[in-house]
Symmetry: C2
Subunit: 151 residues, 2 copies
């Protein structure tokens, strides 16, 4: 969990500029500062915490701008959200162990029966101090309806 090197930051920012140009996105000051903050932070920051960081450089920036840009970044694959189903609470009705397939377009969740998968194998142990209770695999892709050429 060490700090990302300055060289890597610059490389990612440069790639970011290219992607923006390529995608027809304006290269605004706010946009770049937000992206840079994101790359320089570590872990899994919330929009609020990115806002806090960016505000130190652009005190007048609006939280809405941060939200809008994060959404833009995600839409263009410049970053990823930790979880596709972060929105609202959903509960399981299937009490048997199983995995999930989440459609990246419609966000619907499909159960994948456990035995479809060979047991997951760790090559080494988890970091010291972490005790594992269970795991499940999340598959991402297009579901039947969203994958149809007609859509």
């Amino acid at each position: 969990m060490e700090q990302i090197s300055q060289v890597d930051v610059e490389a990612r920012v440069e790639r970011f500029r290219q992607e923006c140009r390529h995608a027809g996105l304006s290269l605004t000051h706010q946009r770049e500062i937000i992206f840079r903050a994101l790359v320089e932070m570590h872990g899994h920051p919330s929009p609020e915490s990115i806002y806090g960081e960016v505000k130190r450089q652009i005190p007048a920036i609006s939280l809405a701008t941060v939200y809008k840009n994060l959404k833009t970044f995600i839409d263009h694959g410049l970053t990823r959200e930790v979880s596709l189903h972060h929105g609202a609470l959903r509960v399981e009705t299937n009490s048997a162990p199983h995995h999930h397939f989440v459609c990246v377009r419609c966000k619907e969740i499909f159960d994948i029966e456990e035995e479809l998968l060979a047991p997951v194998e760790l090559r080494r142990k988890l970091p010291e101090g972490f005790s594992l209770q269970r795991y499940s695999v999340e598959f991402q892709g297009l579901c039947r309806s969203c994958g149809e050429p007609s859509s």
Copy 2:
């Protein structure tokens, strides 16, 4: 995704009653109807949709009651939430592919480097029509700080 059989429903409701007694939870009418609705639904219902279902049998029920009971059910392991990190948006700063370890107590998310894991193997193909783009494994358990006996 076929309907759960009536026999299975009754079995789960009966187990539910036992668990409630065992946990010192009152067996209220609302509680049982909510649990029954949950078991009879399929997929990954939202509190709102369970509320809609329950309301057909107890028109005067409050949405808050549904929320409170779902939380109780989850706390007692009577059902599970689909995702431990459904709350707020979080974005990745780590652009390399990786997996996640989520602490069931503090909900913190830790990155697990991809190569710690042997590639996941499917025993059979995914159901027809699903196209896979990527997958990641979510490990659940206690993190270093939450697993300490001192806590």
